[in-house]
């Protein structure tokens, strides 16, 4: 069930902010892989943490190469970039130069994927920071192979952290952003997902409202 914590106009503004962010991310990615990146129209859902499952996240594959980074500032968000497993290495090959064999590349996979995630996620988050007039710091990226259930489990962790600091424990919310980055030559898709705890979400909402007040 969808939680109604954002007004329609706030959802619209937030979607547009992420849209600009995804545009910058796609530019970075296209320069790395030397191919146009097709972007889907972003959609945002605010969900109760307990309602989030792999179906809601629209993760159809079994395994994903995930790069995640924590962004902190006026609010905290975990940004996760997912690529379908088989093709992550091909993207790494394009980054590193095509003369290397896939076997040799496996050695660099972790480092290269972290760097790729770092570039893409920072492109996206920096657009958001610029538009909202805030400053966001990022942690070092971490790379993991994750199943949809493991990704969902991370959300559950977030809820636990939250309930510790929140006395009126009426459940926490997560913001799930869906943007697909499609690389046709590589037959692969990347997904961007942003996870915010309810505390951070309410802070983000106040910044979005401020942004709206300034522009309208």
């Amino acid at each position: 069930m969808k939680a109604k914590v954002l007004s329609e106009i706030q959802i619209d503004a937030l979607t547009e902010v992420f849209n600009v962010g995804a545009g910058r991310a796609a530019l970075s990615l296209s320069e790395i892989v030397g191919e146009e990146v097709m972007l889907s129209v972003p959609s945002i859902e605010v969900l109760k943490a307990e309602d989030v499952n792999s179906r809601v996240l629209t993760l159809k594959d079994d395994k994903f190469a995930t790069v995640s980074q924590l962004f902190s500032g006026p609010f905290e968000a975990e940004a996760v970039l997912l690529f379908t497993e088989n093709y992550a290495l091909e993207i790494v090959r394009d980054m590193m130069g095509s003369q290397m064999s896939i076997e040799d590349l496996a050695e660099f996979e972790q480092e290269a994927m972290c760097e790729l995630g770092n570039i893409i996620l920072n492109a996206c988050l920096s657009a958001m920071a610029d538009m909202l007039g805030i400053s966001l710091n990022s942690s070092l990226p971490t790379y993991a192979m994750s199943s949809p259930d493991e990704i969902t489990a991370r959300l559950a962790d977030k809820r636990d952290e939250e309930s510790g600091e929140d006395d009126d424990n009426d459940g926490s919310y997560v913001l799930v952003l869906h943007i697909d980055l499609v690389l046709e030559k590589h037959h692969t898709e990347g997904h961007l997902i942003f996870l915010l705890s309810s505390t951070s979400l309410s802070k983000l909402i106040s910044h979005i409202q401020q942004y709206l007040n300034n522009i309208l």
Partner: protein, 127 residues
């Protein structure tokens, strides 16, 4: 820009209501006498142009349904005199050159006073 220009008609195409509101507000701040129409998709834009031909058009690219650049191509094929600005968050080379091929000006989002000024400059050069 000549103060004696007759009032113009602008069509704003964007799936984001906020973006349409901001573009509209900036345009009307500069030209209070202009009339503004809005469309939320490429299909709606094509319909709006047929009903009431505007002088100028701002067009988003990534929208549900048809791409804004495809809608602009259809519109410009029929109405080549229309001045079009492609307003997009997708700032990749491919998107920019597509806009150029259409004879439209590419302006990177976010929609700000500065980016609106670029669009208005493009409109004025066609007046």
């Amino acid at each position: 820009m000549l103060a004696t220009q007759s009032p113009k008609k602008v069509l704003i195409v964007d799936d984001s209501k906020v973006s349409r509101m901001v573009i509209k507000a900036h345009i009307l701040a500069a030209y209070p006498e202009w009339s503004v129409q809005e469309a939320a998709s490429g299909d709606e834009a094509i319909g709006a142009v047929e009903r009431d031909l505007p002088d100028y058009c701002t067009m988003d690219i990534n929208m549900p349904g048809m791409l804004g650049t495809d809608a602009a191509e259809i519109i410009l094929a029929k109405h080549p005199q229309l001045r079009v600005v492609i307003f997009s968050a997708n700032i990749q080379e491919a998107a920019q050159s597509r806009a150029q091929q259409l004879g439209a000006l590419f302006v990177a989002k976010p929609v700000t006073e500065k980016s609106i000024a670029q669009a208005l400059g493009h409109f004025a050069r066609g007046a």
